[in-house]
Symmetry: C2
Subunit: 345 residues, 2 copies
């Protein structure tokens, strides 16, 4: 068995450890944040962690009501700008804790007066030296170059933080159920393994989500690019309608993530539209209506409210990328040209 | 002649009008902003205008030193969040001024206490009703669905604003020269027309930039998708190295925007790396070193400093997309499925 599959399957236990071991610290951090004047949350991250940060941006804005921003590290590391960050919480998200530009940004922000939080899987990694508070993911060592359980736990840590900060009781109450929700989505494995063969020779794909699931779409596209070498581009469906939809033709493969909730109506409209254009539509959804518009439909559990679904819905996407990588004769643990830690400046 | 080509060629005169007619108003706005406590600049836009806003984000952060944020409109329009915006400048960017979700976000932000600025090409459009200040683009009517001169003028308006706000004399002094710089890049037309044939049957592409030119890369990819139906994905080169580079194979088409300045070294390293992997590299550059790594090299003028180049460097990209659209037998003015005004909520 490849490491990637093993690590995907470790997500439920990783979620349980994170919830048990960091819950108290996150509650304390939330209480501190509630009593301080924070005007901006800035996320700084790269790759998979940047996609988790995108979910974090939507969580913070919609639950806490504070603007949240994905930092462009080069503004600090290359253009050497002095950015006002006195009332900011700067959140560095990094599995390894060793991304050079992320750490440089954290260091700069802290020196400029920001409160800094590191979310990392690696004890005593460099990022922790620049952080006022550290949340550890407790995902266990991740060896596959393709990040899986660390993405799931990064999303969970951000959900825990936003729910505690916003004192959102309904969300806080379901955090303990997330490991079980992850177990449930893992049950789609055999169906995914069976159906993925169809995409052995696919040479492009578009991945669509919106709102909380824009992050899921971006992370799914990244997994397809890095483990399957499949050029896959993620869009928020709103942006997709502003131009890129022109490239869709009969048989163009699209993947969509749809959940019951406030986004289901706009997502369904796009699913219908794409089906009319003859798109080959792979839909991960917990609403039966999407069946009508899907070439292949993966039914997701209905237990979770929309806001929490990105933590676990990526798991079937990871399984899809994993089995497609094998079907294409590739090694998902060691994608071409990539290393586990990427040190960009 | 198609509208798109005519409108691309109107960019120099549009830049001159914008500079002459809005310069005074932008100076006044800048003076107001300098004397008020602004802690965040939020851009709200879709499609091409969102790419101009991305350039704006880099400009504001690097020149003014205030964090800048691309808003996710759905947080307000669909999730109905109340986001703190009391000390924000919210900048809506829209050619038509009629984007439903952009206008809804502006309305919400203004009611919540933000200062609102609209940048639009359309007098008395809906967005102006939600704006404390309006900057008009003066680009003249744009009829092609593919936005060209309005992107160029949106970038110019943002450069004018950032330079005035930051009192950056060196940049202010070159604003009057931008129409001439646009004339210069238009001279690449015949070479582009001649070389573009080669990509008649290209079925995918990656477009790379970083820093100020991340926006150029995103806008170039959008033009290729909407006018050529070519699946083209833009990356900041820093993100590209975190996974997507795995999909590059011999002959994979890449487009890059490179300028002398702080980004030239990281961009050159990637150009070299891609060439070693056998990529088909189309490079728009004002530095001769990139010639060694290019399959096709379009030499850009050297007159402008890096920060100002995104205003005009997109023009050869627009010409490339225009002529490629014709070579592929398409109608660049009327892409499939698209209308000039997209009303997403």
């Amino acid at each position: 068995m490849f490491r990637m599959l093993k690590e995907i399957k470790e997500s439920p236990e990783a979620l349980a450890r994170l919830y048990q071991r960091e819950g108290g610290k996150i509650e304390k951090l939330a209480a501190y944040l509630q009593s301080h004047d924070i005007s901006l949350v800035s996320f700084v991250a790269r790759g998979t962690s940047d996609n988790a940060a995108l979910y974090g941006k939507y969580l913070i804005e919609s639950m806490v009501g504070i603007p949240a921003h994905l930092a462009a590290p080069s503004v600090v590391t290359i253009y050497h700008a002095d950015i006002q960050t006195q009332k900011s919480l700067v959140v560095g998200v990094s599995q390894s804790g060793e991304g050079t530009d992320v750490n440089r940004y954290m260091e700069h922000a802290r020196a400029a007066g920001a409160l800094t939080l590191a979310i990392t899987n690696t004890r005593n990694s460099s990022i922790t030296k620049h952080a006022d508070v550290v949340i550890y993911l407790h995902a266990g060592r991740e060896e596959s170059v393709a990040a899986t359980k660390t993405y799931v736990t990064e999303c969970m840590a951000l959900l825990m933080l936003a729910a505690a900060w916003a004192r959102r009781r309904t969300t806080l109450d379901l955090l303990g159920k997330m490991p079980e929700a992850a177990e449930q989505v893992l049950q789609s494995e055999s169906l995914i393994k069976e159906r993925v063969e169809r995409y052995r020779f696919a040479d492009q794909a578009v991945v669509l989500g919106r709102g909380y699931h824009y992050a899921t779409a971006k992370e799914m596209a990244l997994k397809l690019m890095e483990t399957c070498y499949l050029p896959a581009q993620a869009f928020s469906v709103a942006d997709f309608m502003h131009g890129p939809i022109a490239m869709i033709h009969e048989g163009f493969p699209t993947l969509m993530f749809v959940t019951r909730g406030k986004m289901s109506e706009p997502m369904l409209a796009v699913a219908r539209n794409l089906r009319e254009k003859g798109s080959e539509s792979i839909i991960f959804s917990n609403t039966p209506e999407t069946r009508h518009y899907a070439t292949i439909h993966f039914m997701m559990p209905r237990a979770l409210p929309e806001v929490a679904t990105p933590v676990t819905y990526i798991i079937p996407g990871q399984l899809f990328a994993y089995y497609l990588s094998l079907a294409r004769g590739l090694d998902p643990d060691h994608p071409k040209y990539l290393q586990k830690v990427t040190k960009t400046l």
